[in-house]
Structures are given as structure tokens and as C-alpha cells.
Subunit: 385 residues, 2 copies
Amino acid sequence: MPSGSSVSGASLDLSRARFEVVYHLACPGTEVETRARDICIEQTVEFPESAIPNPEIREQIVGRILAIEALDAGRFEARIAYPVEAAGSELTQFVNLLFGNISLKPGVRLVRFEVPDALADLYPGPRFGRDGLRTLVGVTDRPLLCTAIKPMGLGPHELADLAHRLALGGIHLIKDDHGLADQVFCPFDERVALCSEAVSRANRETGGNALYLPNVTAPAGEIGRRAHFAKEAGAGGLLFCPGLAGLDAVRALAADDRLDLPILSHPAFQGGHCIHPDSGVSHGALFGQLNRMAGADATIFPNWGGRFSFTREACLDLVEGTVRPMGSIRPIFPVPAGGMRLDRVAEMCDFYGPDVILLIGGDLHANGRDLIDNCRQFSNLSQQA
Amino acid sequence: MPSGSSVSGASLDLSRARFEVVYHLACPGTEVETRARDICIEQTVEFPESAIPNPEIREQIVGRILAIEALDAGRFEARIAYPVEAAGSELTQFVNLLFGNISLKPGVRLVRFEVPDALADLYPGPRFGRDGLRTLVGVTDRPLLCTAIKPMGLGPHELADLAHRLALGGIHLIKDDHGLADQVFCPFDERVALCSEAVSRANRETGGNALYLPNVTAPAGEIGRRAHFAKEAGAGGLLFCPGLAGLDAVRALAADDRLDLPILSHPAFQGGHCIHPDSGVSHGALFGQLNRMAGADATIFPNWGGRFSFTREACLDLVEGTVRPMGSIRPIFPVPAGGMRLDRVAEMCDFYGPDVILLIGGDLHANGRDLIDNCRQFSNLSQQA
């Protein structure tokens, strides 16, 4: 009995709704059709085409090439459509369908994807987004200011003192350094209680609305507990590293009505996905679109010209991903960072415009002047631009 | 008041226990010291060295260069030690410390890491490992056989029929295709109930111990429910994609005494971390060491010479990571896969030796012969080698 003959005969009846994904392929022109067809198979049935047991699967499940277009030498853009039902209703399987197995192949890059209503309706996305976050901190029409409490090694009282002064200085979002977890020298609960109180106290002193965002990147069963502890303590938002603890954990935090807190995503351990231009995931798709689908309200990334290596073009692509139409999913803030300095604020404002969160860390401490004065200078510089 | 002066004066008092991480750097020889020093800072304090407020942090927290050695032209090996306390007791922060921010920089690759007892004791690792998995399926001293039920698009009854025949044919581990999640055309609960029953029935017929491993890669709050549903239904193990749902979720599954099931990890969406030889994470560290620390019992990867692009050397490095001494953490099985065919079984047995799980998918269906016969041929070939 050939293996196909045991199929029970039940047939697929999908909605025929498909969504479109754009890949860039680096290969000789003679191979591009085969490469695109390979993606259609690899990302869905992962099965020899000739052995697919029934025609409905071939027609309804296997990806479909919509178009292939030559870019520059040896590079092509392929648009492929997948059935909405193959992505299910879960972010984990959605990412798997977009780029699961083919992440293991060089020369293919996920560039962007379209989110029709049938998909977008499954993902509420960010709870606040750009407008909501502006309302929370009470700032319209200019960049928001962000910094981190650090360095690692300071204790909770020292960090709380820093947070207090940063809020006095006019910083809107004061986040944990992403290396602050729950170490013996700085336990999460103690740090978060003290820093939340310190920022609240500064807000009472200034009449401002600074938010403290503790890092809730944590073991699987602990993320929710820390987030709720933070909420109870009066934290104003959450910092999270989806590369370390999963993109879907962002979705779970964003969906939690009892939390009702904005989420700032941090790119730790996500570099491999994006730093090679001919493979991986584009900056716009990774830090923009996927973060938005998950529910982050702002997305930290290394700005061009800092300690890291992102190009101007990559940063612009990322910004495009934060705002590209995706059903009713809100636009989110880009947060360029990574060794930014006060002397680059004007340039950053010019490059990104007003819809940006500027993140400066160490440089607020490195000028030999008072920290609060440096924060005020940061604020002034961002308003002059 | 300079910002440093507000530090409360509390001083660090760490154990001084450090663990060692090996990186490869691609850069000119004139830059290698600076690059290594940069890693020491970036992965810990992420702060201008001159602004670090107290000497204890500089001495106890900042990474320490143990050695730098030239490899071939333009490549260097740097060994760096970090304080055990900076990694905390959580896998998320451990990975962050190893490679969080520097993943965003080209030309640095995490090659391997040492796990002293102070760290290993925090991570029980795989519940079964190689020996435990051999005991479960009752096979000593030869390769175990694995396959997937697919293609996506078949319904639960069709997949259960496949699973039954694969078990009759002598396959030891019958896993869900990693694209099977909880889609409308193949709901998780129905599939898992039927396939578990089908494999149990086959075991009663053959006297064998085939395991069915459903894919429990799922949204954050759903992983545990699916795993426990699978356990109740009689599944013999779990398939999980840490690249999609987080490495720490593997740890949570492995730590769950009520589950007590072996875990097979799948590399979906992890390609970016490893496919470029001068950046990212080595195959041994990513698929071997990190999977083991998390608690996977076997690690699927694309074999050389298949549909993907891993080299022979990468595969050998990966195998080394599955067995490298790591405290009391057990060795796990490498599972080479990705377009493997019956006509390569002898070669794979020769290359990997007996301590391997051979995974063949589509080729069991593609030979125009009976599926059960193909499975038996697979088994015979693996025993002749």
C-alpha cells in the first residue's frame, strides 16, 4: 500500500485568505525561481512536493509566489503569500511561518509583511503606542527622553537615588539597565519598590509624570509575577527583552488588563537576526513590525554612529516598521540608543523628527557635571532642535 | 555635586567566583585588545569606565580578559571571565551576560563557555539525556530513529494513522512537524489525543516503546497547559522550539516533575544566531551547551549536505557541545536532520557514531513504497552501519 492511500479523504476547506511576505534573495538569477519555490514548501508542508498526499494541501497550504523582481546584482525580491490559517492565531506559529526553518539558510532575508484584517484582528498590539505614551508622560510634539539606571553593581538604594535625580532632571522614561535582573547585589523586588517610590516622589516634587520601567525579563513563570509586583509598587511601565524571553511574552504582558502598563522592548540577543544584510530579518520587520504585533509601545535599537554598527538605512527601515499600516495596530516609538551623547541630540532630532524617544545612558554621567544639570541640558537640546 | 558623589557607599562583596567564556573576534590585530575590553564593559556595566562610581564595581563586576590568542589571519580567540553573581540564577540573564548586547555587533562570536559547579548547580539540565532516552525507548548502543508526522494540512485522524504506521515500522521518536501548532485544520488537543492513542496502540501491537512527541511551542501562558494535556493523553515526550518561545520555557518544561517527559528541541528561527561564521553563536554553544543548560534531551539541527548549509565542522562542533563536560548536566543527543535520506543513513552512522538520533522526514514517504517498509529499511540501515 503506498503511503498516500491511507489518507482518510477528509479535505481542507480554508478561507482562502492569504497574507503577503516580502523576502530578499541573494543568489544567481538562474536559481531565484527555485529558491522562492523552496521557501513556499519549506515554510509550510516541508515535504517533497511529489509526495503531498492530496491536491487540497498543494493548493491551499503551500506558499504561493506572487512576484519575483530583480533588485541590484545578484539580489531579488520575492513576494510570497501564505494562508492565514497556517499561521493559526498564535504569534509563535506566525513567526515560524514567516521565517522558522529558512532562518537556517543563508541568502534569504525577511524584509516586511502585510497584515490584513484577518490577521491584525488576532493581535491587539500595543496598548498605548505613540499617542498613548505621549499622554502618559504629558508631552506632545517633541521627542521623549529616556535613560537607564546603572551601572550594574550598584545596590537598590543607590539606583533609587539615581532614578530620583533623573526624574528631577526631566527624563520621561527611566528604565532599568537591561542587565539588572534579580542578582544578589540588587534584588528585583527591593530595587523596584525603592525606584518606583523614588520616581513617584520626584513627580510630586516636580509635578511631572516620569515613568520608571523595571526590567521584567525573567524565567518563564516569573515574568508575570515581577510585572504585577512592579505595578503594585507604582512602576510606570516595563522593560522587556524579547530576544531573551520570547516575543510572545511581550504579547502576554500587553494583553494583561490588570497591568495596563506601557512596554519598552530591548534588542539584547537579537543581533544575529539582523546584522548581516543578506540574511535574517530586516530591522523594520524585527524591531518594528514584530514588536508592534506583540504589543511593545517603543522599541530600543542601536542608533547609527554609536557603539554598534547599524547603518542610517537600517535605522530608517526600522522607523518605517514602527509606523507601517498594520490593520488597527498602533504605531510605536523608535528609541535610538547605544552610546548616544548629548552632543548628538540635535542631529538625532533632525534625523528622526519629533516622533522619537531619545535614549542617552552613560553620557549623562560622563561630563563631570551634576547629573540633574546634564538631564536638563538633554531636555533643552531636544526642544531646541 | 558631581554625580558620583551621591553613591551611598554600600560596597559589593561578591564571591569572586567567575566563569569563563570564549569568543572569537574578527578584527585587525591592532584592535583586538580594545575589542576584548569593550566586551568586558558592554556585557556588564555598559557604562563609561571613567564614570564608574566605585572601585568595587570595576574590580568585581566588569568582565576580565584572561587571554587573547591569534588564530588565523584577522581572527583572535579571547577568553573572558565574568562574575557568577552577574549571571544571577536565571537562564535569561545568563544568556544576556554571555551575548546580549554584543550580538548586535559584527565580528564577535560566542564560541563556548565553561560551567563551574557554582553555575551548573543552578541548572538541573536534561531530565533524561542520552542514557535516559535510551532507557525510555529500550535501545542501547545504536542510533535512535526519529521522524515527523506531516505534511501540514492533514487532519488529526490522518496524522494519527501516520503515527500508528510509523510506530509499527519501528521508529522510536515520532514528533509533530514543528509547523503543527493549533490550527483550525488540525487542533492541538484533538491531534495529540489521537496520535498518542495511535502510538500506544502500535506499541501494544509490537511490544515496542515508540514515543509520540507533540509540538508544545505555543503562546507564553499556553505551553504548560498543552504539555500537561499531552502528558494526560499519553504522549511520550515534547517537541519545542526555543527560538520561537524562549529557551527558558524549555527549562520550565524540564523542571516540571508532573510532566517527567523528554524534550526534543527544534532550531526554527535560530539560524540568524549561527549561520555567519564570524558573528553570532557557535553551533556547539547554541544547539549544544545552551540547550543542555535549559534541559533539552536532544537537539535537532540541519545536517551537512542536506537542504541547509551547515558544514561538517559546524556539525562536529555541535556534537561537541552536546557532550562537553558541564558540571553534572547530562550529555544530550544530536539529531541531524533537514532533508536526510535513506541512502545517507550509512554515511550518517559513520560520521556521528552510535550516539545519535537519525531524523528522516519526507524521504520515508517519497520512495513510492509502503511507509512501514521504508521505516523498516531505515531501521535495518541504521543497524548495519
